[in-house]
């Protein structure tokens, strides 16, 4: 396969995943902002969504101030935000279009259909229309993943697409956790209080994991168990450990198909082996924030190794 083709597939996967993630954090913000407890809860919800996105710097640089309207506009539509939902879907589609020959018809239709739909939906300003827009984006991500899973040959095209999705998903889960731990709770609000509880459950909802939490932990929502679910639990498909497992397995499939292993495989396996012995108590002890920052850095380094080995 052409390196450029692999690169475009990988980025199609990453941008689709990111669009889905942004839709989820915006949906969570709409929920959090509706909470009646405190006046500044709404403001905090939108600040939290912005921080989760990792795009606060770009937001501030544009001279914006945090409000429901400005954050929604920036994360969903803004032309000057290179990873707004709209930009992500457009880039996913541009990448897919440049490698159409590597996609099945169903997969191309799912991606192209999403782009057509996006243009038809425009920029809804009413809150209910906006929620409909987010639903559309999430449904799109499901359709794309489903089309890929159901129609693509299990060859390198598929592995590169999935690799991009898994790497981006790991990055997004890590950011999400980090933001909750440090930013979301407004000053004066008690840890373990009602708002804190609501925020943790909302975070679980964001990643469609609230029911999963109940199944796994059989109790009320506790921060360290949420972290356990999203960091170490291998049953949870978007936990860091699960994403890392997927990354390793896709890289191994590539290595098998090509008959050659390289730095990307070695790096990914080394990361994964550390999850096998990790305990959430230890992670909290030495600081969840520090742990996540280190993970993000390693994830980036892995991305660079993949690019170097296959995509350049």
């Amino acid at each position: 396969m052409l390196s450029r083709t692999a690169d475009s597939l990988y980025w199609t996967g990453r941008y689709m995943e990111r669009a889905d993630f942004l839709a989820r954090i915006l949906e969570a913000a709409v929920r959090l902002a509706a909470l009646p407890t405190r006046d500044d809860a709404a403001q905090s919800a939108w600040a939290g969504a912005l921080a989760s996105s990792g795009m606060k710097g770009a937001f501030d640089a544009g001279g914006r101030t945090v409000s429901e309207k400005s954050v929604r506009e920036f994360l969903a539509f803004a032309a000057d935000n290179p990873t707004s939902i709209k930009a992500c879907l457009t880039r996913a589609r541009t990448n897919a279009r440049s490698v159409r020959t590597a996609l099945t018809i169903e997969l191309w239709e799912a991606i192209n259909g999403a782009w057509n739909g996006l243009n038809e939906l425009g920029q809804p300003s009413r809150r209910d229309d906006f929620v409909g827009y987010l639903d559309f984006v999430k449904a799109t991500a499901l359709a794309v993943e489903g089309a890929a899973s159901r129609t693509m040959l299990r060859n390198d095209a598929y592995w590169f697409l999935r690799l991009g999705m898994a790497l981006e998903r790991a990055d997004n889960t890590a950011r999400l956790l980090d933001v909750k731990y440090h930013l979301l709770l407004p000053p004066g609000e008690r840890v373990g209080g009602q708002l804190d509880y609501f925020q943790w459950t909302t975070l679980l909802r964001e990643v469609s994991a609230l029911t999963a939490y109940r199944w796994v932990y059989r109790g009320s929502v506790r921060p360290w168990l949420v972290a356990d679910l999203l960091v170490l639990n291998r049953q949870m498909p978007r936990s860091l450990a699960s994403c890392q497992g997927m990354i390793v397995s896709y890289l191994e499939r590539l290595a098998t198909d090509y008959g050659r292993r390289g730095p990307a495989q070695r790096l990914a396996s080394a990361h994964l082996s550390r999850f096998n012995t990790a305990r959430i108590e230890d992670i909290f002890q030495s600081g969840l924030h520090e742990y996540i920052q280190a993970f993000l850095k390693e994830n980036n380094a892995l991305g660079a190794a993949i690019s170097e080995q296959y995509l350049a």
Partner: protein
């Protein structure tokens, strides 16, 4: 302008023309809203599939659908047999002509074509002088534009011998029609077009350079997703089962072309390039072009790679050279041309220029190197100011122009505004050459001017397309 010849009704005085009986009856009986419903279905499908082309200088929508008309155009078996023979003869002569002007130049010495018209032509590539492309094939793919002004056959309007486009629409239109109107196919013996890609693959493989083995590696080279015909490039690569590459995917080492893959470098033997000569290799042609491959011409001249079409074929579809095609055909085949040219004035000749200037408002004037309906004057539709501006251009540089009468193109029934109406059409059949053989795919792209009375069928100017049915006996 008088009533045009109609593909279905002829001059209107007699019965429906041969081949059109079943369609005519079907159109008469079809419920009024059926065609419109099918038309909407087709549009939705094309939009969903992204069957689009880009319009240059149109920032708002850089991707557009080419309007698709659901009423097919029919060519009966007798008509097609004549067309096919004429096209084979013409493209055969075209290849011989290219081989000659880049070789011994006998036709120039014999005065068949003025030597300075060839040797000073911007499309003439001195780099190819004395070279013979692998297998001796210059024009692997030609798209010859034909128009019809009456019962008695077709006339050639242009020989597109560089990188003719539109074949994906020929194939997609057929797919669409078979999906929308299976019954109609059951009532006709329509010759299939879908073996085009097999034929193209065969022609390209047969033209591979010596030493590339039994299974040469082919690629389609595109300028990229922003090119107007990008959809077609990806479509063809997909159907051929080969990589669609951009210049940056390729590199040249030791006069050999390689592509960058996830498994390392792989040798490339045949490049079906959809990039003009000028952009192929910045070391030989335009130095600032970034879509090409540095060193490609050296590899080509070393005979290590096939480029289809060959470098330098553009000189054969220059509009001034076109006017000499009848003589070229006679010279190289010893036969009379089976397909005629449209009568054309060569503005480079003073008496022709004078004749053109005298009746500018009745003529179509074209730039000799132009394509796609750009930079032309349609006299009868031009304002006084446009006519005067063009007159000045003609006088300043007469050699850059040819002129033709405004042709009363034939019409075909077309769905317009919810009802059937006659609209002007042309036809671009696709002709494939391989060493020792020329093949014509039974069909082609019928383009249709969707505006009543308009003669402009180019997709870049808002024209549409139809499926083209060549009937079996």
């Amino acid at each position: 302008m008088t009533q045009a010849f109609d593909e279905m009704a002829g001059d209107g005085s007699g019965p429906v023309r041969e081949g059109y009986h079943a369609l005519s009856e079907w159109l008469r009986q079809a419920p009024p809203d059926l065609l419109q419903a099918r038309s909407r279905q087709a549009e939705l499908f094309f939009r969903r599939m992204g069957v689009t082309f880009a319009v240059y200088g149109d920032a708002d929508s850089n991707e557009r659908l080419i309007p698709f008309d659901v009423v097919p155009r029919i060519i009966n078996a007798t008509e097609w047999a004549r067309l096919e023979a004429g096209l084979k003869q013409r493209v055969g002569a075209l290849n011989a002509f290219l081989q000659d002007i880049y070789g011994p130049q006998e036709c120039l010495r014999a005065g068949v074509v003025p030597a300075e018209l060839i040797l000073t032509n911007p499309q003439y590539r001195p780099e190819m002088q004395g070279r013979r492309p692998p297998g001796g094939v210059w024009c692997h793919v030609a798209g010859v534009d034909l128009v019809r002004t009456g019962e008695d056959g077709f006339q050639v309007l242009e020989d597109n011998a560089r990188t003719p486009s539109g074949v994906s629409y020929m194939l997609e239109n057929r797919e669409m029609m078979m999906r929308l109107f299976p019954d109609l196919f059951a009532d006709h013996r329509v010759r299939p077009v879908d073996d085009y890609t097999d034929s193209l693959l065969g022609a390209l493989q047969a033209s591979a350079p010596p030493g590339s083995g039994d299974d040469p590696t082919l690629v389609v080279l595109t300028p990229g997703p922003f090119n107007s015909a990008y959809y077609e490039h990806s479509f063809l690569a997909d159907k051929l089962g080969v990589e669609l590459v951009e210049g940056r995917d390729l590199f040249v080492r030791d006069d050999t072309v390689f592509m960058r893959t996830t498994e390392g470098f792989r040798r490339v033997d045949v490049i079906y390039r959809r990039i003009d000569d000028d952009y192929l290799d910045p070391l030989t042609f335009r130095p600032h072009s970034t879509v090409g491959v540095p060193g490609l011409m050296a590899a080509y001249q070393a005979g290590r790679v096939t480029l289809a079409n060959a470098v330098g074929t553009g000189v054969a579809d220059d509009k001034a050279v076109y006017t000499y095609m009848p003589e070229v055909i006679r010279f190289f085949t010893g036969e009379e041309p089976l397909l005629s040219n449209v009568p054309t004035w060569r503005c480079r000749e003073p008496d022709h220029l004078k004749a053109v200037l005298d009746r500018l408002d009745q003529l179509v004037v074209k730039e000799v190197g132009g394509s796609g309906g750009y930079g032309m004057l349609v006299g009868p539709a031009a304002t006084r100011a446009e006519l005067e501006a063009f007159r000045a251009r003609l006088i300043a540089d007469p050699g850059a122009f040819i002129a033709q009468p405004t042709l009363n193109l034939s019409t075909a029934p077309t769905l317009a505004g919810g009802a059937l109406a006659a609209r002007h059409i042309d036809l671009r059949p696709f002709v494939l050459s391989r060493p020792g053989a020329v093949e014509v795919i039974p069909g082609g792209l019928t383009r249709v001017a969707l505006t009543a009375g308009s003669l402009v069928v180019n997709s870049s100017q808002g024209g549409g397309t139809k499926d083209t049915w060549v009937l079996d006996d």
